[in-house]
């Protein structure tokens, strides 16, 4: 399902920050992980991801470093910064509030026993 651009604008960065919370990842890896773990809903092309990464880097939420991979190739790995962690926590709270509100409106199903997180 193709998500509206305005919705993607808010969801994409949070998704990236969330993935980087667990470990540092490189660009292609992020594209694959977002597509897989969102079941294709948040799938984005490289033309969307890399500008997003550069924006997050400009805001100081993530930091990129070139490293040699095991296969000898060089990759730019991105990691969450302290500021990025705080921002992620803030955005997660907001998304939870939003989903609770949507659930109360009947747009989302009400979770039984509390909110559930998507797992890998």
């Amino acid at each position: 399902m193709r998500i509206e651009r305005e919705l993607m604008r808010g969801a994409g960065p949070v998704a990236v920050l969330k993935l980087l919370e667990q470990r540092q990842m490189y660009g292609y890896e992020l594209v694959e992980a977002i597509e897989r773990r969102s079941a294709g809903v948040l799938a984005m092309g490289q033309s969307t991801l890399y500008p997003m990464l550069y924006n997050l880097e400009a805001k100081g939420l993530i930091r990129g470093r070139w490293r040699d991979a095991d296969n000898g190739r060089s990759r730019k790995y991105y990691a969450l910064t302290a500021r990025g962690k705080r921002r992620l926590a803030h955005d997660v709270r907001q998304w939870r509030e939003l989903s609770r509100a949507m659930a109360n409106l009947g747009i989302l199903p009400k979770p039984a026993g509390g909110p559930r997180e998507a797992t890998a």
Partner: protein, 658 residues
């Protein structure tokens, strides 16, 4: 086999290392070091050296090129995209899949560029914002300039009122039979005859001056013309209709009237040309040549009075003095300041001649003569204090406004391009007259015309400001000298002069507004001289009746004077003393100190014009300041504040003077 794998692995490792050296900047290893960008390979080299399929290379090149980023930023983006495609190919995806999932090239480049620019140094950000601000400001200024220029160029003045008719109203109302000007013209034409060339340089001389003999002979042989002057001066009105061209009947007069050397000219020179003058020229161009000729006529009458005195002809003396008073009245018929100033000049000359002759030849005057002269001088211009009127100046200002502004029908309007050009020419002329730097100094001002037009006050505001200033001037003029302080109008004008915005906003005012303070002081000083002459006449009449001079001026009132006139410098009664048995009338003068009738001593510089310096008016605060000056007075201070009184009668150059 294992050897072959080992060799290929080594080759791969070497290639990978070379790839790293070629692509990874040292900066990534040295936190503080920088290698100049030109030493690193461009993104094209990096893309070319990558082991990607040609289609993918092409995609990466296009994207990076379209970002239009800095060199090192392009390298960074290229490396990352190459790494991405390498990872994609390495995970088993096809080139087509990867290219298809990449997204739109232009949009990608634009978004990458926007994002990368956000991480540029603060200095660059500030620099960029600064140039953006300058650019926006310039653009805004250009738009404003364009609008202002359009408003200026598309506007035209609305010349609708004939102010010349207003100016000529009084003269036009004089019945033809009562008009003095045709008679003056005839008299002057006769005087400008064959022997005028010799006499011309001596107009205004008195007995004892060089050229007096020549002038005396000239006057004696031109008595019929002088009689015509006297006849003309007795007419009820001048009847001179001024205009922009010299009437044919006057052109001969103007051509024949060779201007004597040294005589002040009062012809109004007005080369300024308004572009909107085709049907209704600017009033400033009006011809006022009659002023010079009437002033000359009055000087001839003054000289003739002295000639008649030498011949003991009292009747002619009185007639000449009355003729001068009549001419002074006639000149004021056109209500312009220049006319009033010429009138005062003629009157002053008449008073000077009368005072001198009264002192030296009192026997020439009968009691009736003196009484009649006293009434003529006292009733000059309606009696009371002698004033310079500003009515005509307002008419002229209104005329300028209608030549430079539009008319919106509600009393206002905006400045026009033609109007600005007229003001620029006027400014150049005015600056040359006043020996000042013009407000508008170069042709670059023409480029700034829309800005000036934008800043300049509109028609209604300009007139309001003018009226406010003239109201200040009128209030000041109505205030006697002894009650005045610093001129409020001069303070107001100097504030405007010091403010560039005010100068831009009220430029026409600053060039067209006359020197109000000086003219109002002129009126007061003339009144003082008139009052002193009336008192002198009263003294002479008293002496004739009582056989001696009075001990005080109080003895003259009310029989010979309504009241004792005031000293206009200190507001107290006019000063009178008997020095060696002879009367002296004086004012305390500039220094406001009663020095007992002490005349001005010009020392080795000679006499100069009697009473000039002692009659200069300064605000009392300035006088106090000069008096407090420590140490000896400088020559400049002395000139400003001479320790002397203003001797009013008898004139200091009179032989009668004690």
């Amino acid at each position: 086999m294992s050897g072959q794998r080992s060799v290929s692995h080594s080759a791969f490792s070497i290639g990978a290392r070379l790839w790293k050296i070629a692509t990874i900047p040292i900066d990534d290893y040295l936190p503080f070091g920088r290698i100049p960008g030109l030493l690193r390979p461009s993104y094209r080299v990096i893309v070319a050296a990558s082991r990607l399929p040609p289609e993918t290379k092409g995609l990466v090149r296009r994207v990076v090129q379209k970002t239009r980023l800095w060199r090192h930023e392009k390298r960074d983006v290229a490396r990352e995209l190459i790494a991405h495609f390498q990872d994609g190919l390495g995970s088993g995806r096809s080139t087509e899949e990867l290219i298809a999932s990449f997204g739109e090239v232009k949009q990608a480049a634009r978004m990458i560029r926007r994002a990368k620019k956000r991480v540029r140094p603060v200095v660059w950000q500030v620099w960029k914002r600064g140039w953006q601000t300058i650019g926006c400001t310039l653009l805004l200024a250009l738009v404003v300039y364009g609008v202002a220029a359009a408003r200026l160029l598309l506007a035209s003045p609305a010349v609708s009122h004939d102010y010349l008719a207003d100016l000529n109203a009084t003269a036009a109302a004089v019945p033809e039979a009562d008009r003095a000007w045709p008679i003056y013209r005839a008299a002057l034409m006769s005087l400008y005859g064959s022997d005028w060339e010799a006499a011309a340089p001596n107009v205004g001389v008195q007995p004892g001056d060089e050229g007096w003999k020549t002038m005396s002979v000239f006057l004696a042989s031109n008595q019929p013309a002088l009689a015509l002057l006297r006849e003309a001066s007795a007419k009820p009105g001048l009847g001179f209709i001024t205009g922009f061209a010299i009437a044919p009947e006057d052109q001969v007069l103007v051509r024949r009237g060779v201007r004597p050397t040294g005589e002040d000219t009062v012809e109004k020179q007005s080369p300024v040309t308004s572009p909107s003058e085709n049907d209704n020229p600017v009033l400033m161009r009006v011809q006022l040549f009659q002023l010079m000729h009437l002033r000359r006529a009055s000087l001839l009458c003054a000289s003739d009075a002295f000639r008649a005195a030498e011949e003991k002809d009292g009747k002619t003396v009185v007639a000449d003095l009355e003729a001068m008073i009549g001419m002074a009245e006639h000149v004021r018929e056109i209500p312009m300041m220049i006319d009033d100033l010429v009138s005062i000049s003629i009157l002053t000359r008449a008073m000077g001649a009368a005072g001198l002759l009264l002192a030296e030849h009192p026997e020439l005057f009968t009691d009736d003569d003196l009484t009649r002269l006293a009434h003529r001088f006292a009733s000059f211009s309606g009696g009371g204090s002698i004033r310079v009127h500003l009515t005509g100046e307002r008419i002229m200002f209104l005329d300028v406004l209608q030549h430079v502004y539009t008319d919106d029908g509600d009393g206002s309007g905006r400045i026009t391009g033609e109007g600005l050009e007229f003001l620029r020419l006027l400014d150049q002329q005015s600056a040359s007259f006043q020996a000042q730097a013009p407000l508008l100094v170069s042709s670059a001002e023409k480029a700034l015309a829309p800005v000036r037009g934008f800043l300049m006050a509109d028609r209604a505001e300009m007139l309001r400001e003018y009226d406010a200033l003239t109201a200040l001037a009128a209030a000041e003029t109505a205030t006697p000298l002894w009650q005045r302080g610093e001129s409020r109008i001069e303070v107001h004008l100097s504030r405007s002069d010091d403010s560039p915005l005010d100068r831009a906003r009220y430029q026409p005012l600053l060039r067209l507004i006359p020197v109000f303070r000086h003219v109002s002081v002129t009126g007061e000083l003339t009144t003082q001289m008139r009052d002193a002459l009336l008192t002198a006449i009263a003294l002479e009449l008293y002496r004739r009746r009582h056989g001696a001079w009075p001990q005080s001026l109080q003895s003259l009132a009310p029989e010979l004077l309504p009241t004792v006139p005031r000293d206009r410098f200190d507001g107290r009664p006019l000063k009178y003393r008997l020095i060696d048995g002879s009367p002296v009338l004086y004012s305390v003068g500039t220094d406001l100190d009663d020095d007992g009738g002490k005349p001005l001593d010009l020392g080795p510089r000679g006499r100069g014009r009697p009473g000039t310096y002692a009659a200069r008016w300064l605000p009392p605060q300035r006088v106090e300041q000069l008096k407090r000056t420590a140490g000896p007075m400088t020559s400049e201070d002395w000139q400003l504040l001479p320790d002397a009184d203003w001797i009013l009668w008898p004139p200091p150059d009179s032989r009668f003077h004690p």
